[in-house]
């Protein structure tokens, strides 16, 4: 049995917030799917509202507070992430974007990420593909094909609610399918897509400049 960590980034501002509601449904579906194959999941939910001042301070000073630092670390070290934003003025919220602005550029390289958004009506649903997907593509995340948009009505009517539950279930399944125990990845060299080589595991490409220090002779020779 493997325990995976999933970081949930929820940018809803209301309390309670429908964005958080959707985030919890997605996290619950992931939990069920992981349990279904005999693994465990630890979910860390980050309410960006609680970090809003710290995020702004980080933008202004260039360094994170202790609380924000641990939130950024949680996202960077998670096995997968769920990112959920409300739609503001036709796009993700400014707070949502600001969080990803202060996140290390390499933090999500190769990390499976599920995208979700909430809005007043389904007319905003393309925010998933026209705003969120390019942002997470820039960060080189491994974005699952199904994004989940929940309009206000989806939380009420039977039919729409069932359809939302279906999308939540499908997207969670896609995310969990990407959670492969590293042991499984490395035993079978034939398994090309999930293969063991560091060159095929983009997360291994993330470098800590302190641990991968280039000796000075090489720096001198390289110029």
């Amino acid at each position: 049995m493997t325990t995976f960590t999933v970081a949930v980034v929820s940018a809803g501002l209301g309390q309670p917030s429908s964005t958080r509601l959707l985030a919890d449904q997605l996290a619950g579906a992931v939990r069920t799917a992981v349990a279904g194959r005999g693994d465990r999941v630890e979910v860390i939910t980050l309410e960006l509202r609680e970090l809003a001042h710290d995020i702004t301070d980080n933008l202004l000073t260039g360094f994170p507070s202790v609380a924000l630092h641990s939130a950024l670390d949680a996202v960077g070290s998670a096995d997968a992430a769920i990112a959920v934003t409300p739609v503001f003025s036709g796009s993700y919220s400014g707070l949502f974007k600001s969080f990803f602005d202060v996140l290390d550029r390499d933090a999500l390289v190769g990390t499976p990420v599920l995208l979700a958004a909430t809005g007043g009506s389904a007319r905003h649903s393309l925010v998933l593909d026209y705003a969120m997907r390019p942002l997470l593509s820039y960060l080189k995340a491994d974005i699952v094909p199904t994004g989940v948009f929940a309009a206000t009505a989806d939380f009420g009517s039977d039919e729409a609610g069932r359809s939302l539950a279906d999308r939540v279930h499908r997207a969670a399944g896609e995310l969990v399918a990407r959670l492969s125990p590293s042991a499984v990845r490395t035993v079978d060299g034939l398994d090309g897509d999930l293969g063991p080589g560091p060159e095929r595991n983009p997360r291994a490409a993330r470098s800590d400049p302190f641990e991968n220090l280039v000796p000075f002779e090489q720096l001198l020779a390289r110029r």
Partner: protein
């Protein structure tokens, strides 16, 4: 241990009066501040180098040469000299010239600047920042150490039979610090040459700088310049003092709240918690500064930022009185008592000249011995 001040040279509106000093006023104020530093018993004055408003010190050796003439004891330095965009030949010449005028009271700190466009302004490629720092500095060292240089590199036109003039005073090049707030490569560079490493940690939490300095110390030992604890470390600091702590806080708060770099961001209280900034009584400044040693080990130079964010000259001079009279004498005593005897002193021209003479005498003795064995 050396104590001093470093200035960014910003022209900033005083938020309490709305008054902005002229460039002339700010430049003359920097000179007055340097003279005051000597008067109150500090050891070092360092100026930044910037090529964009609202900063005035674009020509550090002009300013330091003038200050050299007005002072007798003060060590003149930079914070930082742009090793990336300045021609290393001109740095070699300018600072050797300054060495002669100042009777050796000169060292400098290499850095890469704080604004991207400075690279294109001087015809350089910002994506080559580290490479420029590496190549230019290697050439600079040779220009100071070899009378005739043949050189070819990537970022500058080649040199054939070139002699940088004047030669360094007494044949001893100025001591060099490397300043970095981010890059392990620069700590590695400082370690490789056995130069000093200066961590201006005033805007950042300490954990990052502990890593940088630890790396520098480890690599300093690796390259055979001495034990890790003997590596030459300098640290930044930032303080505002009044006799009563609460007076310091209420007087400094408007400057903090509107300051360039961190203004409009975290509260004064949060920022003092997260960074080396101390706003309070001289005793509080002493307590916090002594802790730097716990975090980073014994070190050789402590520079404080005292004159930014629009603080009026009169206030800065009062701050320097407090620093020189009430803080630094105590810090000197405490740090000296804690420092093991095998720790090197802060670098000076006299110290470097004596070391060079010792090395030359050792070399002669070895040669004589070798000649004796051969006969």
């Amino acid at each position: 241990m050396q104590f001093g001040i470093f200035t960014v040279g910003d022209v900033t509106t005083d938020p309490t009066t709305g008054r902005t000093p002229t460039e002339a006023e700010r430049i003359k104020a920097m000179v007055t501040i340097a003279q005051k530093a000597e008067e109150v018993g500090l050891d070092v004055f360092a100026t930044g180098e910037h090529h964009n408003p609202p900063f005035v010190p674009s020509s550090p050796t002009t300013m330091l040469g003038y200050i050299a003439a007005k002072t007798d004891r003060l060590l003149l330095s930079t914070s930082t000299t742009l090793i990336t965009t300045n021609d290393p030949v001109k740095i070699a010449e300018d600072y050797a010239m300054l060495q002669h005028l100042a009777d050796g009271r000169v060292d400098l700190m290499m850095g890469r600047g704080n604004t991207g466009p400075v690279y294109p302004w001087f015809g350089k490629d910002i994506t080559k920042g580290i490479e420029l720092a590496v190549e230019n500095y290697d050439l600079l060292r040779r220009l100071w150490r070899e009378d005739v240089v043949d050189w070819q590199g990537t970022y500058r036109t080649p040199l054939r039979g070139f002699t940088s003039t004047p030669r360094p005073l007494d044949g001893v090049p100025p001591f060099v610090w490397h300043g970095s707030i981010r890059s392990p490569e620069i700590a590695e560079q400082a370690a490789y040459y056995g130069d000093g490493f200066f961590a201006n940690h005033i805007f950042w939490p300490k954990a990052h700088f502990q890593r940088l300095i630890e790396l520098y110390r480890t690599r300093f030992e690796h390259y055979g310049h001495g034990s890790a604890d003997q590596a030459i470390v300098g640290l930044g600091g930032q303080v505002f003092m009044r006799k009563n702590s609460q007076d310091a806080v209420s007087e400094f708060r408007p400057y903090f709240d509107h300051a360039p770099v961190y203004g409009y961001g975290p509260s004064l209280e949060d920022f003092t918690e997260m960074t080396p900034l101390t706003v309070g009584s001289p005793a509080e400044v002493i307590e916090k500064t002594l802790k730097f040693r716990d975090y980073f080990g014994d070190y050789q130079r402590q520079l404080f930022l005292m004159d930014h964010a629009g603080l009026p000259l009169k206030t800065v001079l009062e701050q320097l009185d407090l620093l020189g009279e009430q803080v630094v004498p105590v810090l000197r005593k405490e740090f000296d008592a804690l420092r093991p005897s095998h720790m090197p002193d802060g670098p000076t021209h006299a110290g470097l000249r004596a070391a060079a003479e010792r090395a030359a005498a050792d070399q002669r003795a070895r040669e004589l011995e070798a000649a004796g064995n051969a006969s």
